[in-house]
């Protein structure tokens, strides 16, 4: 790791201000993604602001009947929360499908949303990568691209978003609550939070310099049957090749979000609208505009089959 200085933030406003005014400063929460990247010198912050002691670790009901999840709530605690288990089961399931017990004990809500891609060329500092080094090219296009994205990709970058939790949050229409360097709070709908790569794959989220995530808010529960199905190379402790988060509503209204296939957690209105026509129709709608390589073309079939399996599971239950 490159040398850096370290401080513990004492208030949200100070943390945001310090982050914006200190060149090379970064927040550190669980550290499970940032430190990994710092060891490889993919991330080289010169100052770390520890946000673990700001009291952002609570889960509280909102006046609207939803749930506010503190940015520092650990993935284990969020998955095990009684209200989340009961009313937002898909979120518990998505969290539990990610990483390992040890990692979930450290990983936080905000850190999970902000974790960076697992594109192997992003991790290999000997290779070109527009995300790591803007303008250097993309090692994955024309390289081994089996794990990479097929939706929302560009000529500059085909990296997949790796998070499981974020897929469930996308499904549930969560909103990301932040405080900026100017002390002003704002709420960003999760659909607008992650950016598509376009010509600027190094710009990954809507966050401005210094802006700190304080919580993620879920709207009131939508009921239905919650499922999260993750398909990966190992039965546990591996990132998704394809994942599907779904809520099957009693009235036939259902919604779907996808992981492993998108440059960001993926959801389209057309896929939700196709729900009553079955797995094949939902897959077709979701995959509209997909751009595959010969290594990751299999993901299209895998999406359809994963959906088919979820439909069968749902029918068996009802």
């Amino acid at each position: 790791m490159k040398p850096f200085t370290y401080s513990r933030a004492t208030s949200v406003a100070d943390a945001a201000k310090a982050a914006a005014s200190t060149q090379g400063a970064r927040f550190i929460a669980g550290g499970t993604n940032l430190l990994d990247l710092m060891k490889l010198q993919i991330e080289t912050p010169t100052h770390l602001i520890d946000v673990n002691h700001l009291g952002l670790d609570r889960i509280e009901p909102t006046p609207e009947g939803g749930l506010r999840i503190g940015a520092l709530v650990r993935n284990t605690d969020l998955a095990a929360d009684k209200v989340v288990r009961r009313d937002y089961g898909v979120l518990s399931r998505a969290l539990l499908a990610g990483a390992s017990g040890q990692l979930r004990n450290k990983a936080t809500t905000a850190g999970n949303l902000l974790q960076r891609t697992r594109c192997p060329y992003f991790y290999d500092t000997n290779m070109p990568c527009n995300k790591r080094k803007p303008g250097s090219g993309c090692g994955a296009i024309g390289g081994i691209s089996r794990s990479l994205a097929i939706l929302g990709v560009s000529d500059a970058c085909i990296a997949q978003h790796p998070s499981d939790m974020a897929v469930a949050m996308r499904l549930l229409d969560a909103q990301v609550d932040t405080v900026g360097a100017d002390g002003v709070a704002r709420a960003i709908p999760i659909a607008d939070f992650h950016m598509l790569p376009g010509d600027t794959p190094h710009v990954e989220t809507a966050l401005k310099s210094g802006e700190i995530i304080t919580s993620v808010t879920l709207p009131k529960p939508i009921g239905g049957t919650h499922v999260y199905r993750k398909v990966r190379d190992r039965a546990s402790y591996a990132f998704a090749l394809v994942s599907v988060a779904a809520v099957f509503g009693k009235d036939g209204g259902s919604r779907f979000a996808f992981g492993g296939i998108g440059a960001k957690p993926w959801r389209t209105p057309a896929a939700d609208a196709a729900a009553s026509s079955g797995a094949k129709a939902v897959a077709e709608a979701a995959l509209s505009g997909a751009r595959t390589t010969h290594h990751n073309d299999f993901k299209k079939t895998l999406v359809e089959r994963t959906l088919a399996s979820l439909y069968r599971q749902k029918e068996a239950r009802s």
Binding site: P3, Y6, G30, L48, D50, L96
Partner: protein, 211 residues
């Protein structure tokens, strides 16, 4: 990478000497915090309770909890496998929870309690899980074992606390089964594949605790 590794090594050796002297200087104050390390980064005082013993260290902020334990406190039971969160060899219990000590900075744990394999039990006074690993041959080379045992102890507590897992059929009904143990132990890789015996050891301890 190799050259980075060298600098870090030499830095660690440098700071190990300071660490050895630190208990005499403790409690480390703000003046010590401003003390400058070789590469121009301030050393930071860190106070930990490791296996019940209070320790005062002066650390480069880059020091992971794993390196603090191994290189500074010479508690070499905790192992470094991958150093990137992928193997679980470095698993320790911090404030009652198992974590990967390679992916966290020691300075982030100032004031906290850490339990390592050395703190669970000793050769004369084994922890039930350590004894069960011996009885059931839960290892071959033993490299992953300290992490496996720390994880196994925490896993039984997580199940008792009702924390669900990926394979829990009903999120509200958490119970003990082989598949639960396997899933929950998936963050601990064993190159010797002692897995079936590790599960047997865990079942043994779980049965004992229940009885």
């Amino acid at each position: 990478m190799p050259s980075d590794h060298l600098t870090r090594r030499s830095l660690l050796q440098g700071s190990a000497a300071i660490a050895a002297a630190a208990p005499a200087l403790a409690p480390a104050g703000a003046a010590a915090a401003r003390q400058t390390a070789k590469e121009g980064t301030g050393m930071i005082p860190v106070e930990l309770t490791v296996n019940g013993r209070e320790v005062h260290l002066q650390l480069d902020p880059r020091t992971t909890l794993l390196d603090a334990l191994r290189e500074h406190l010479h508690l070499t039971g905790t192992k470094k496998g991958c150093d990137q969160g992928q193997c679980g060899a470095c698993t320790v219990i911090v404030e009652g929870r198992r974590i990967n000590s390679c992916l966290t900075l020691a300075v982030m744990h100032d004031g906290e309690k850490v339990t390592t394999i050395e703190g669970l039990g000793t050769p004369d006074k084994l922890h039930p899980m350590q004894r069960a690993f011996i009885t059931h041959d839960g290892y071959q080379c033993g490299y992953c074992t300290p992490g496996q045992i720390c994880s196994a102890v925490a896993v039984l507590e997580e199940i008792a606390a009702g924390i669900p897992s990926h394979v829990t059929p009903d999120l509200d009904k958490v119970s003990l089964s082989d598949s639960e143990l396997r899933e929950r132990m998936s963050g601990n890789i064993c190159r010797c594949a002692a897995y079936p015996n590790i599960i047997a050891a865990m079942n043994d301890v779980a049965g004992e605790t229940k009885a």
